[in-house]
Symmetry: C2
Amino acid sequence: MELSDRILVKEIGAILRQNGQTLSVAESCTGGLVGMLLTSEPGSSKWFAGGVIAYTDRIKTDLLGVPSEMIQEFGAVSNEVVAAMAGGVRNLTGTDYSVSISGIAGPTGGTHEKPVGTVCMAVDSDGFSTAVMKHFSHSHSYSREVVRQASASYLLGMLYSGLRKDGK
Amino acid sequence: MELSDRILVKEIGAILRQNGQTLSVAESCTGGLVGMLLTSEPGSSKWFAGGVIAYTDRIKTDLLGVPSEMIQEFGAVSNEVVAAMAGGVRNLTGTDYSVSISGIAGPTGGTHEKPVGTVCMAVDSDGFSTAVMKHFSHSHSYSREVVRQASASYLLGMLYSGLRKDGK
């Protein structure tokens, strides 16, 4: 685990704990990495509830309530779907905040429009969500592991920024 | 990621793929680490469905259907509860196999009976589950991270053994 992730998680945990707020995750391409990073912090059960590893589309629809028409129209890697995943997991777990992630980690599965390294991420709080699409493969040297690590770190940064903003 | 985990995951994926079978996870103390390890393998979506990060007792009961009386009687870290978690996530996801894990990663939360490093793990297939309790802290030098990594590796080994046995 990288030091920068460790520091981000400590800060995220401190803010949530101070505010008495809770967090959940919905992960596709990272398969549990974001939850693993968050729970690396001792005492994280005070603010981290858990979530859903939604690796297949079926779990996205059946467990998280993402409309299958939405997946068909926009693709599982889209801002629309990650926003729905985040909202779904927050409803399911009853947390104050949630984060979600869905991407093409590779080495296969990329398209011209969405090449390997394309990852969508969302932060949701009380129905107000922010979703972004990022490309983590500009150099063509990013491996599956690097795409997953880089996107998980980016999502932690997004969550931290959101928490800081909400606290103002 | 350790080489031994990488080899185990490759073998697990190869067997499941060959048999056309699927796998889900229910993770408490590891917070997503087992799912992350399984999905480090390219093409894992062919055999890995996803699962539930059940970090709090509420998610264990509400999402996985573990009876709250069971948690009260045996504790969240018990063979009874991990067996129920594995059964619950397998029902929820409709997979052929499931694994579950719940433990005391520390540094706090240990008791005389269940010291830090106590981890329960289960493998479930078609309602037939195997659950074990292990202690990963005999040396008193095991950190939270080591307990989580060691127990995740152990669970992968349990799953691999189960798959090999079932294949005979």
